[in-house]
Symmetry: none
Subunit: 180 residues, 4 copies
DNA sequence: GATGAATGAGTATTCATTCAT
DNA sequence: AATGAATGAATACTCATTCAT
């Protein structure tokens, strides 16, 4: 088993669960059964490790969106996007927890600034390219609205309301975006 | 000059700007021109100070929502709520930054858990009471959607997109909620 | 109820239970329902309070030993002294705990040095005056032995062995000192 | 040069001289020419360091008592034990100072509770095994008396009387325990 | 006599990072 | 590639003391 990969996997999980600032490298290393020196060896620093993790997450997002969807109508694409969003939100809370965390915290924002910009630009453009196919009017604003809505749902589902009615919300949203 | 109030004011500002974890008490005290011991004296601990701040913020939210609005139609209330939300989002970014921060970060969440629950329950009920007057069908889910949308907008405006089209989003949303 | 007396009583108890160094004045004041400023007002400082307490304890010891015992034989006096020692050791553990504590700890020793000397000189002389009446040979050494024995018993009973056979020890000692 | 051993040695000395509570780690580290972090690294905490020291002291006591003494009569063993006690009491005051300190102070007692119990049980049994060979009647009580006597002597010699007649006491005691 | 806000020096502890092996 | 001893700056917290009221 590759110690480097092991390290990344464990660190991702712990950073998501406990927050970056609140997760000492000592805990990461103990959990991953790895010596402290190894982090500096592979990633130079704690921030280096964070950037590597964030980068990989972005790569994942890009890959998913790069699947060819030319055989789908734009509305079908939107629905599929929503379906996969709600599916993953339930299945991999950690993933969203981690990303929300990184965005909101000033300290991590500073470290990841360029990577966050890169990723959010990609997401905005990917979304807009779908909306453009439906109607170019206000497509940028609508894309922003769309993204904000999903982020807000993730935020409220993960962090605020214990009995957030995720499924009903999902239905409501899908209905909204499939109506002409 | 009340040193306790001074302390709270400065701490609120600094926690919002730099994050709670990332703001040492030494900085808070120096900025507020106050000795370290005073925090212990008034709030017992850094967490105690945080709880006091969060509590006051909640009290503010409750006060604003307690203003009598019986002379307005529910849709008018909704629009007013949206107007004041967007107004404040632009005017007092710190306020939103601080609150998002507290919600998302695991460490602060643990400290504030009970207070967060209290506040979010209040907000949900206040929102639902308006939606109920329009149409009781799905009023709870719609309230959740409404709150999530606004949170998402705050999140994207403050933390992700530098050129977030706040005004256009505002218009779009108000239009959406004034349509029958 | 006199706040000063209240303060002394509570402080004695707490210092005995938790040790002097380990008992913050804040705890003393809260327990005694008294403000912090009052200690400085009455005793100048924490050390001042300690000295007052130690002084009172000495005064108690002196008083007990000042009772006229001219109608008793020296051996009777010795037995009575032993009886009262074992009686009090069981009844007022705190008293012995406190005094042992003060003697052994370097920090408190420094504060109480003169008072400790005064008291221990008194005790030695009071004991020697009894032994002298029995036999002046080695009376000083025997007095030291006698005191050391009792201190050792207190130490082992209070601080080391949970099932210290206090009563059997008492009988053994009394037998020893009543034998010709 | 082993920094860990250096640390233990210096700390033992300082804790004995100044008391545990009254010896800041800063002083220990400066004296030992070692960084503060090293204590956390090797012993986890100040209490951890204390436990390590106490443990080693116990180990020393056990080792000394484990020397084969089958070629000595029980009374010879008792005398040898007394001789070595008085010898060490004069030579290594620190050792006794430290141990008395730990026993008497509530704060350190709590930290060392299990280790103190272990050690005192061992000492009691080692002593009793000698007394048993002389006479099994009351051997437990006599052992307790014996230990208490020595502890009391150490206490009075080290902590109370400046001109404690140690040598005369020694002779008196040895005479007592060699008499049939 | 009595209060309690305010101070500030002091202390243990945490933790990312370095470096020799 | 991997270890872990060692560092030292940073940080929250403690607590006796002071002083205006």
């Amino acid at each position: 088993m590759d110690k480097k990969e092991q390290l990344i996997e464990i660190a991702t999980k712990l950073f998501a669960e406990r927050g970056f600032e609140n997760t000492p490298l000592s805990v990461v290393c103990e959990t991953a059964n790895v010596s402290k020196g190894l982090i500096s060896h592979h990633f130079k620093s704690k921030n280096g490790l964070l950037r590597e993790i964030f980068l990989r997450t972005t790569r994942l997002i890009v890959e998913i969106n790069s699947i060819d969807k030319t055989n789908q109508s734009p509305r079908e694409q939107l629905v599929e996007l929503l379906e996969s969003f709600f599916l993953q939100l339930e299945a991999d809370k950690m993933f969203f927890q981690f990303n929300l965390n990184m965005m909101v915290q000033p300290a991590t924002r500073d470290v990841l600034n360029d990577l966050i910009k890169e990723r959010s630009t990609f997401i905005l453009e990917a979304t807009k390219s779908i909306f453009d196919k439906i109607d170019t009017t206000d497509s940028l604003v609508k894309s922003h609205m769309f993204i904000a809505e999903l982020d807000g749902i993730a935020l409220n589902y993960l962090g605020i309301y214990e009995d957030f009615p995720l499924n009903q919300i999902k239905e409501l949203i899908i209905k909204k975006y499939t109506q002409r």
